[in-house]
């Protein structure tokens, strides 16, 4: 009987939970302009690693109950983290479901065909007019066209 042995805190469990929470929070990074390449992957990798730690923690709690706590909390945490991971994977897949850039899109060095579209107040605006600076003042060095999804 291990009388003098205190039960150890199940660090793997808590570390795993922390990583999963960080994974969820990392979705906020998209709004902060952090450099692009690591970002989508972090919101997927953190929950995966976190869940691995949680599972390790739960295994420990069941395999060595005299030493490690956390059977109930661990099981609940494992279930929750699995759901969070599933949501992260779904979010990842859906966010990247975009058509591939097509050959029909102007490449660097090609010209954008002129077009005229109404602005948000209904006045027609043409690209060529904007580029030639007829809106008063010198013609701009360039125009940035930002195509966005909308429906916010």
């Amino acid at each position: 009987m291990a009388d003098g042995t205190q039960k150890r805190s199940n660090r793997a469990l808590w570390l795993g939970l922390l990583l999963v929470v960080l994974g969820v929070l990392s979705n906020g990074l998209y709004f902060l302009g952090v450099p692009a390449p690591p970002i989508p992957w972090i919101s997927l990798l953190l929950p995966i690693v976190g869940l691995a730690f949680v599972v390790a923690g739960v295994w420990r709690a069941f395999a060595r109950p005299a030493i490690y706590r956390g059977k109930v909390v661990g099981s609940l945490a494992a279930a929750l983290c699995t759901l969070i991971l599933a949501a992260s994977v779904a979010g990842f897949v859906i966010s990247r479901r975009l058509p591939a850039p097509s050959a029909g899109t102007p490449q660097v060095g090609q010209r954008v065909p002129d077009f005229t579209l109404p602005d948000s107040e209904g006045h027609p605006v043409s690209l060529s007019t904007l580029l030639s600076g007829s809106a008063g003042g010198a013609p701009p060095k360039a125009v940035l066209l930002v195509f966005y999804r909308g429906y916010w």
Binding site: G33, L98, P101, T105, R111, A142, V143, F147
Partner: protein
């Protein structure tokens, strides 16, 4: 210029709420979007045809000098990359 397939009143609403001073253009039939091969068929929340996210820096002659196509709708374009490209223009 910000271009989307949103109806005019939605774009104007967004422009006012966010306090933007640049021009918002409306392409509700996605004509220009299609002409530039940027269509994302059924990509809207109710299956509407919308634009895929893309940015083009176009010089005075109408030539593309820089462009960016997001692979992930969550990742925002980098203003510093666009500005660096703009600075190389005469």
């Amino acid at each position: 210029m910000a271009i989307s397939a949103d109806p005019q009143n939605v774009s104007e609403d967004l422009r006012h709420k966010a306090g933007y001073t640049f021009t918002f253009l409306c392409d509700p039939q996605a004509e220009v979007i299609r002409r530039l091969a940027l269509l994302h068929p059924g990509g809207g929340p109710d299956g509407q045809d919308i634009s895929r996210p893309a940015e083009f820096l176009v010089d005075r002659s109408g030539t593309v000098r820089w462009e960016n196509f997001a692979e992930d709708v969550r990742v925002r374009a980098r203003a510093d990359q666009m500005l660096a490209a703009a600075r190389t223009l005469p």
